[in-house]
Symmetry: D2
Subunit: 345 residues, 4 copies
């Protein structure tokens, strides 16, 4: 950290300040210039309260030089993290497509979609059991029963499952869930993150609608500080002034996160766009920009031709998309993890 | 709701759609124009999934006419809600100032500040026991012990206390807390909101950094739907592109919320500004715009002249501010609740 | 400026860099620490290209310490600027209300409104002659004729006039305009700002919808660098994610701008809110927060009771508001400039 | 448009309103429901003032059904616009890469870069002669001389040129410029747009930092309404709360604009990212998402190894990128326009 001291600070004040900082185990490097004095803080500054420092009366400004995250930082861990999940590997070079319905609605529904997406090449099954809904009057998910149905679908298809947790209290229900998802609204539910840090199970951490990329990495840090190193970051669109599209997919987040951190990064084009017709274009962009995977909503409603599913692809649309993605992955020198597995067999 | 049907929709499709809507217990009013067909949905549409409706293939757009909140809606409850807390009343006409430190740090600290702010006219004592911190390495609050110290300070000064909850699991610790605060990051922690709906204790609900005013009212609705009608809304600044000031205080939120809802609305100028010197100006604006109260950070650190407290006022600054607020309240035809109480005695 | 050098920079590279910087007439102060090297740039750094500096391969980051504006900076000019316009003074302590219709529509309209607002205490008349409209098919203003009608109204009432310029080419038409307004969309029309810098006439500079406060001050700097020191800053709401209200009035901009700059700062509550009913509350907040004036839309349409004017007050509403503002100004130790003038006579 | 009438409106008021609307040449379709009355406005509603309509006292809300743009609307013009520029075609299926330095600095610089980018496959040369700079103290471009140097480079390489205009007054200097660029800050400089509408020369219209996609299309409409149909839209990043990256590239803008409009849409990854290392990833995403081209900054500074050019690629980086883009274009069933031309020869 670099601390800029106000020009009118008295010498004794500066000395008191330096003593206070050193008491926290941080070394100081003072430069006295004509117009201003600059103090460099050297050592482990992660414990120093940035806001408190700025609040000191003789301090003009504080500039952070080192990132406030350690475990998630590529500088501390230059190689890409590859998460091992059974025989599957998640991370740079292993592209995954997590697919499934927005919500689990019935055994037939989740089973049918699971079979479909597997056939098209999806490598994970997703489905919401606990649903964060803006309105208390909207469907809140099948909850415990939804998770049971997901596990059944996993047993039938062999696809590992990803589903969202909304409260620490529900953790016992997630025993057989392969990847636990933290939704955008809970990205800074710090008590929940701490608990997930004690698990030995990958966490899919979605970026909050108005959270910076640094805050996303700090939330990953909460989980990793507890000992759980298997965090997958997910960009799912941010809230901006634009209203034509539900959320603004921050595509630049992928190269940025991959340069700052060694963790895998995936994209959720379905929630970002909120419109199924836009999902294929955004999914292609995700591959080309260098993401490590996608999480895509697919629905299955043959009896009701009326419904498109605002943000969900029909199975045949998903299948066509997977073909396009394979071609692009080829150009990028990657392949779908499921395809590799098939080849390996 | 008004549903606009696509021009190329077939008659049978429209009929199927109308049947589907009516099955949900909602009446339809169809207007067939030359260029487009419009369907008005009449009745209780709060259960209709807005996004699902938009996703139907023949639907061009859906426009909500009625607000999706009921209990928090002024149309359903035209008179201002006045929350009764012992002898105190909170709501339109009863201006409150909730004051205290950012975090509870020690018995001396919280006791000293409590005595000070009471003397200056504060009507509630605030102080953080559980602290939501971006970094896992930062001080997380005194937790249970912090609440105990708050209760002690309450017993000594007679000031009722306000403090933040971060997890459903901590609820038993909040027995003697007078108003439970839900922080900005938990505004859409729906599982927590549901639990608070079962209490009979006022909830101070802070707006999320990037949540719309409608979403804030929907979160109030979560609490009220559970039976707890005593919700106080709090504007504390939103996240925008501007970086010179920590958050952008959305002053217009006050007249907007008070026109749409009957709930009390207060302002937190300390967190919005992030700089103590700006708090008095914003506090005056809060009175003039018609807020029902303020929640202000005050610190007490006489032995360490170095620290200003980035966003906390010194006791003497707080006292001066209270004088200004009293004068403005007079012009607005209001008075500080504590002063009234004194007058009444 | 403080330049942080990358840890892996070679000594010769640092020396080349230092030479390059000194060639620009800036002194350097180098601190070599264990982990990083910091270079302080001392002297007039306003000509240094911030982005170019950051782009240098051995540079990790650049932090500005001094503001990039000089003429608008309170540090260079501690006393408040008081603009003298005939017998009127504009600035700290002299509160002004600029009132009038959105657009000039006819002699009767502008004349009628001018008489009304003068009677209620307005100190300036506003009215749009050139109208920036999102749609090319919308009314673009009466243009030259509109300005003529404004001048007529000025001659009849004695109220000086404020109206917006949209192109350098129209400048000759603004001879008799007292204050030239630069609208939000032209805040960074730098060629226009340069021309206005050559005038000796106050400029009312509105903040762009998505411009930072520093950018607003830099645009003022464009005008001042040309020799015209009479710039009035205007906060009129910014674009955020919130859609319930047209723009988010950034009330904190007032104390911020007044602390950083000596220029007068006013508020436009009409454009911010976009709804007339909200204008009185925001106007009161403007007085309480310390603004130097208001620019308010007032319409006059007695024959058409149907129209409220989305964001315009009716004359009687404006009159009532002026009464409230006078009372608040009294508490703030200020008075309406027009009242003072009356008192002085 | 659909107008929702307030429940308490009186019958005569509604009739007065209907008469007023019909006087504007628009038909009305009234639906009287139990709880509300809805009026559909049918016909050419582009001239109706949306805000005025909302301001009518008996109107609860107004919802637009048809887009307010006509000439730019795909509904009115289903086939993609292909702009013919000499032998070049711009639009769907013809991918272009516009490359060159941020600013024209000297004959050697622009000539050298022009030769390089042509060899790598660029199809247009870009370079700033008039530079919009936040600070009045920063380099404002070589202006007229810069354009002359661009024209020289065009004559030497055969690459048509693209450069930015900042004021109507400079138009005579743009005679030999092939595509005139309107920068983000001038996207709503309506007087400038009107003038450009009278030209017969393609306009590259960049999206403003905080302008919606609808506003971008309305600005295109300003140009097209004047008779100039050759508008190229450009997404260059928007301003959001995220500060880690200069602007947030709104990648979803491409599929959105291409679905709503028939105009070509390109991406500027250099200004969005502000960091050269991120440009290749974003450029690849642009191809995959379906953009019609890219505008990329390339610099040429062999003698000064120190400078990377914050957002400019080095010639060899640009060459490598072009190889990647060709491969991706192949998968997308497209090819670089320059390559086609070569093939055709």
């Amino acid at each position: 950290m670099v601390v800029i001291i106000k020009p009118d600070a008295k010498k004794e004040q500066v000395n008191t300040f330096l003593g206070w900082v050193r008491d926290m185990g941080v070394e100081t490097n003072v430069v006295v210039g004509k117009e201003l004095t600059i103090v460099g803080l050297i050592g482990d500054t992660t414990k120093i309260d940035f806001d408190l420092l700025r609040s000191i009366s003789i301090v003009d400004d504080v500039r952070r030089i080192q990132e406030p995250y350690k475990n998630a930082n590529r500088k501390m861990h230059p190689e890409d993290t590859i998460i091992q999940l059974g025989e599957r590997q998640i991370g740079e070079g292993f592209f995954h497509v997590i697919a499934g319905p927005c919500s689990v609605e019935s055994r037939e529904q989740i089973g049918g979609i699971a079979a479909h997406v597997k056939e098209s090449g999806a490598t994970f099954l997703r489905g919401g059991a606990f649903k964060p809904r803006t309105s208390p009057y909207a469907f809140q998910g099948m909850r415990a029963e939804g998770i049971e149905l997901l596990v059944e679908a996993k047993n039938q298809t062999g696809l590992p499952i990803v589903t969202e947790i909304m409260s620490v209290e529900h953790l016992p229900l997630f025993e057989e869930v392969d990847i636990i998802q933290v939704g955008a609204r809970n990205m800074q539910n710090f008590e929940l993150l701490k608990e997930l840090g004690h698990l030995r199970k990958p966490i899919l951490l979605k970026r909050g609608l108005a959270n910076t990329l640094e805050e996303l990495l700090m939330s990953a840090e909460y989980i990793m500080a507890g000992g759980n190193r298997d965090v997958i970051l997910c960009e799912r669109g941010i809230r901006t002034f634009e209203t034509a599209i539900r959320n603004t997919l921050d595509i630049s987040a992928i190269p940025f996160l991959k340069s700052r951190s060694h963790l895998p990064v995936i994209i959720d084009p379905s929630h970002a766009a909120g419109m199924a017709w836009m999902v294929p274009a955004l999914s292609r962009a995700a591959v080309a920009v260098g993401a490590d995977g996608l999480i895509i909503e697919v629905h299955n409603d043959p009896q009701n031709a009326l419904c498109d599913g605002a943000q969900s692809l029909r199975p045949e649309e998903f299948e066509a998309l997977m073909g396009d993605l394979r071609a692009l992955l080829g150009v990028m020198g990657k392949s779908l993890s499921a395809d590799e597995a098939v080849t390996a067999e």
